[in-house]
């Protein structure tokens, strides 16, 4: 729309000439991408102005003017840290430092926190082992992660056989969020796969049940499911049987996420040509072998963006458990900033929370983009 220069040459007639100066280099890029019309220019300038309004004050609040250090009297143990220790007018990060243990471990007893750390180290190490391209033989790691680790983690976190029991009421903070998201992710994928297969099944009963379940779970907000898990599940149990609230919530969250997972995977299944099924059947593969070896590996690849999207939503949805009285990461940070010593630190709390959630979700999203790129170059149809 803008290029009225170089009138002397009819565009397209002299492809041998270098591009005009205004089309290449930094100026060309700017003209092309930011100022290609008066409307684009207006948008560009407004965007710059908005960034100018927000970013410098935020940086000065969060970094330049922020309080990071405990007072000497706090370090020497004379007094407890509190909001009034922060005097520079910026963010009061002392709050996060002072409360960090609780944010991370909830009400888990100090003496037992090493157990959480150990679980976390095993978790990070096995995820690294599973995802790293440098490690070739992943079979033992996968076995450990999917068969041994869940039991070991439960034993360590909950206790028993010599370790003191830490009831789930004391779990909280980041560790609870990670538990909820982790279990939700690990279980919703296989359940979602089964639901997706069931929805495409030839057996009318299986098909009907899966459709009913999926459409029910997708049609009801998670909060409702959490309330129901809290109130209704006990109704189906014999009187007097105590059913752990964390377990109830976990079941609710997992089933909810499974329904969404099923739909994403169904999309992946539909993208496969019929010939893949016929090729597999003609070789004599049975239904399950065909699904496991031929169909699912391809359908899941197609569905990776949607699956990771679901993982991210699930991680964020775990914050809703606050409603049934659990102190997940967000809830415990909120509770911390309501403490009488820390009134006024709500913004710091939310910014810190947002930052931590963002790191996790952003990492997942980047990782999924990497796999997608890798698969695109790996093979083509």
């Amino acid at each position: 729309m803008t290029d009225m220069t170089d009138q002397s040459i009819v565009p397209g007639t002299r492809p041998d000439l270098p591009p005009p100066v205004t089309e290449s280099g930094v100026i060309g890029w700017l003209r092309h991408n930011l100022f290609s019309s008066w409307w684009d220019s207006l948008l560009t300038l407004s965007a710059i102005y908005i960034v100018y309004l927000i970013v410098p004050p935020f940086i000065s609040w969060a970094f330049v003017n922020a309080d990071w250090q405990f007072l000497p009297s706090v370090i020497s143990g004379e007094k407890a840290p509190e909001f009034s220790d922060c005097t520079s007018g910026g963010a009061c990060w002392i709050f996060v430092r002072a409360r960090f243990g609780q944010f991370f471990y909830g009400f888990y007893p100090d003496a037992e926190r090493w157990r959480v750390n150990l679980v976390l180290v095993m978790l990070v190490a096995s995820i690294y082992g599973l995802l790293s391209e440098r490690i070739k033989n992943k079979k033992p790691i996968a076995w450990f992660f999917f068969a041994v680790f869940p039991l070991l983690a439960f034993f360590l976190l909950y206790g028993g056989i010599g370790l003191p029991v830490v009831p789930t009421q004391q779990w909280g903070g980041f560790m609870l969020t990670l538990t909820l998201a982790g279990i939700g992710i690990v279980f919703s994928l296989p359940i979602g796969i089964l639901l997706a297969l069931g929805r495409r099944s030839q057996l009318p009963i299986v098909h009907l049940l899966c459709v009913l379940f999926i459409e029910f779970a997708r049609g009801v907000p998670l909060i409702t499911i959490l309330f129901m898990a809290n109130v209704m599940l006990p109704l189906f149990l014999p009187q007097g049987v105590e059913f752990n609230i964390l377990l109830r919530v976990l079941i609710g969250v997992t089933l909810f996420a499974s329904a969404y997972m099923a739909e994403v995977i169904r999309g992946g299944l539909q993208a496969l040509p019929k010939g893949q099924y016929e090729g597999a059947m003609a070789m004599g593969l049975g239904y399950w072998a065909m699904m496991r070896l031929i169909i699912m590996p391809q359908a899941l690849r197609v569905a990776i963006p949607g699956i990771v999207n679901n993982f991210i939503s699930l991680t964020q949805d775990t914050t809703l458990v606050a409603i049934v009285g659990l102190y997940d990461f967000l809830n415990i940070v909120r509770a911390g900033s309501r403490d009488s010593n820390w009134i006024g630190t709500e913004i710091e709390g939310y910014v810190f929370c947002a930052f931590v959630y963002w790191i996790f979700c952003f990492a997942m999203s980047r990782y999924s983009m990497r796999i997608e790129r890798k698969l695109q170059t790996g093979h083509k149809r």
Partner: protein, 262 residues
Amino acid sequence: MSTQAQANPSGADLAISDEVMIGLTGVNKWYGQFHVLKDIDLTVLKGERIVICGPSGSGKSTLIRCINRLEEHQRGRIVVDGIELTHDLKNIEKVRREVGMVFQHFNLFPHLTVLDNLTLAPIWVKKVPKKEAEEVAMHYLKRVKIPEQAGKFPGQLSGGQQQRVAIARSLCMSPKVMLFDEPTSALDPEMIKEVLDVMIELARSGMTMICVTHEMGFARTVANRVIFMDKGEIIEQNEPEEFFNNPKSDRTKLFLSQILHH
């Protein structure tokens, strides 16, 4: 209409036993109201090579897909190597293990390498140890003349190479029968020959074959019977020379004039 022609000028060296490999009696199939297969009777002896031709939509694919139960027939009997195809899943899988199929669009598994495409069914269906399965796979890749492509993915091969991989993949299961559904009609002309050569070589080795194809040269070279189908019926069958030089029914004549003149 001659039945099982025992002698074939060009394939006279190929022995045909008198054992029945596949028997279809009174087979009927409908898609909803549409009658695709009408009273099909067909006996295929061990070692026979049959070419099926006919206009598009005449039911050729449906017929051979009934033989490995990719389609279900509604009336009549289909017996493959003594096993009758019924709703019994065990029998269906048994038959599929003995019947190889090559498709128009290859249907290779794009997420697996060529070698893995070939070893998958032997390992998971026949429980052959991996090492042995790979040796067998390399043997058949040599036979279809592309052993050097073993590590590639199907998407990296030409159409002709992919179809040869597909043939090798079926052969790895050591099938007793091979079904071909227009194996060359999705290929560029210059690749047709390399696939036909592999099929001719396979015929010479004594494999029982049913090929849906319009490659008349192939039919003359290896078939000992050519079947003409139209509107779900077998109209005419004869040994190739008779079939091409002296077609009996008007519909066959019309069809032959159409495919030979274009």
